[in-house]
């Protein structure tokens, strides 16, 4: 699904933010991405949703080397990726409904289908009463839920969620994680970047740990022990 080989990334003339990143995510896997603030989690995700090209190394996505792809192929690939941005990035002048419907509109889904799917999902994330509001009139947590709904509405093949529960209380946070698990069972590959230890402990998935620009993979067995000995 995703394969990074010797990836390096630097912004402008600064030091490398990511160095020698090597990993491979299987189709249908569910991974947490964690690490201290400023470690490069968002940067790594940016590479995965093709928002940046790496300074060096080779990225293979959906079985294709992204270097050789044309502009429109990249566009098509992006349509298969859902992203929850850390800062939400809702379109400020579109209503909640239209924001969530956006990925469907870009792929020219029939309007009737859009209506059904979007309304159902908005009810599910608890925003049924806020459909026509503009993002700026929503609370932080509500905006985050809109961002999540938008990322999942088109049933992406790959879902990248950056700190998706940072503004949510635990109840609704767990509810949304369950939504992601459900999507994962239906075949979506998922990567969730998070600081939330509790969350990671509660849901048993491999962790990609970023530290000082380098990636370590921690397989479930390790944290299962943590979990048994730990709090939850």
């Amino acid at each position: 699904m995703i394969r990074f080989e010797n990836i390096g990334l630097r912004y402008g003339v600064g030091d490398e933010v990511l160095r020698d990143i090597n990993f491979k995510l299987e189709r249908g896997s569910f991974n947490f991405l964690t690490g201290p603030s400023g470690a490069g989690k968002t940067s790594l995700m940016r590479l995965m949703y093709l928002g940046r090209t790496p300074t060096r190394g080779l990225i293979t996505m959906f079985g294709k080397n992204i270097n050789g792809m044309t502009r429109s192929e990249i566009g098509m690939m992006r349509q298969k990726i859902g992203v929850v941005f850390q800062e939400f990035r809702l379109l400020p002048h579109l209503s909640v409904f239209d924001n969530v419907a956006l990925p469907l509109r870009i792929t020219e889904t029939p309007e009737k289908e859009i209506q059904n799917n979007v309304n159902e999902l908005l009810d599910w994330v608890g925003l049924g009463d806020h459909k026509d509001q503009l993002p700026e009139t929503l609370s932080g947590g509500q905006q985050q839920r809109v961002a999540i709904a938008r990322a999942v509405i088109a049933r992406p093949k790959l879902l990248l969620a950056d700190e998706p529960t940072g503004n949510l209380d635990d109840t609704i946070g767990v509810r949304l994680m369950n939504l992601l698990e459900q999507l994962n069972r239906m075949g979506t590959t998922i990567v969730v970047a998070t600081h939330n230890q509790g969350m990671m402990n509660q849901f048993g998935h491999p962790r990609l740990i970023l530290e000082q620009g380098q990636l370590h993979v921690q397989e479930p067995q390790t944290w299962i022990r943590d979990k048994i000995e730990g709090v939850y």
Partner: protein
């Protein structure tokens, strides 16, 4: 709920993912384009009207020469025939009108008194000539040719003050055309600037659409559609305002219609050019929008 209505009407009339159709900025851009078009209408019609004036004066007077064979010379009527023959042989002369003695008498009479016995006075001869092209060189040549027949013959070209006048008209026409150009340039700059400002204002949104996999055409199309509408509206309003302005202006100038100063009635070509303005403004706006957006998109990976 007001929001819901807004969202509905937005859906009904052509959907935008970007808030282009919302902000008050749109109205301001339309006003700006209106004013630009208005100025362009004035400048272009001035330019055409001045062409008209120049043409009328040129054909009305510039191509006319008067040839005088002064009286007192030995044989006016013999010279007259000879000169006429000479003139007939010149290609550049389109019309020769030998004035009758009566006509000359009528011209001279006021100076001499009506009762004066004209028969007793030797009459000068006057030949009005229309040329196809009235160059300095031609006039000099004609004067020389005729002087060979008789050195007293005078070619009168009316030209000194007319030349001045036509030069002034020409300068004004040039000025008007130049001003049209500057206005067009200003319009382009203004529109480009505004579209670019809109772009940079909505850059995060554009980038988001891009990251979601929207094609360049999809994104540029939204801006283009928006710019097209602004350009068309602004152009149409401007044309309308300009036409109104011209109407008022020409009523003023034509109050006492005269032959020398033609009315501001515009030629078919002029009217056609003016009616093209809204489409020009349209094309200008949407092309600018498209180029700006595509260029900005090309910079995104």
């Amino acid at each position: 709920m007001a929001k819901s209505v807004q969202s509905f009407t937005q859906k009904a009339g052509g959907r935008y993912d970007l808030p282009l159709n919302r902000s008050g900025n749109g109205r301001f851009i339309i006003l700006l384009i209106t004013m630009m078009t208005f100025l362009a209408v004035l400048a272009i019609s001035a330019s055409f009207a001045l062409s008209g004036v120049a043409a009328k004066w040129s054909t009305g007077l510039e191509n006319k020469l008067t040839i005088e064979i002064p009286a007192g010379e030995t044989d006016v009527s013999a010279l007259k025939v000879e000169v006429k023959k000479k003139l007939d042989s010149i290609d550049n002369i389109s019309k020769i009108d030998v004035m009758s003695d009566d006509a000359i008498a009528a011209l001279v009479a006021p100076w001499l008194g009506a009762d004066f016995a004209l028969e007793e006075v030797p009459m000068p001869a006057l030949i009005a000539v229309e040329t196809k092209e009235n160059t300095r060189a031609f006039i000099d040549k004609l004067q020389k040719d005729l002087s060979e027949i008789n050195s007293a013959i005078i070619v009168d070209a009316h030209e000194e003050w007319l030349e001045d006048f036509l030069r002034m008209i020409g300068a004004l026409k040039f000025g008007a055309m130049f001003v049209s150009l500057v206005i067009a340039a200003t319009a382009i700059v203004a529109i480009t600037g505004i579209i670019r400002a809109r772009m940079s204002e909505h850059r995060p949104d554009v980038e988001l659409l891009h990251l979601m996999g929207a094609s360049d055409a999809y994104i540029a199309g939204q801006f283009q559609r928006y710019a097209l509408r602004l350009g068309l509206l602004g152009g149409a309003f401007g044309l309308f305002a300009g036409a109104l302005g011209l109407a008022i202006f020409s009523v003023g100038i034509n109050a006492g219609d005269s032959d020398l100063f033609p009315s501001l009635r515009l030629s078919g070509l002029a009217i056609f050019v003016l009616f093209c303005l809204p489409f020009v403004s349209c094309a200008l706006c949407s092309t600018t929008a498209k180029i700006t957006v595509l260029r900005s998109l090309a910079r995104m990976p």
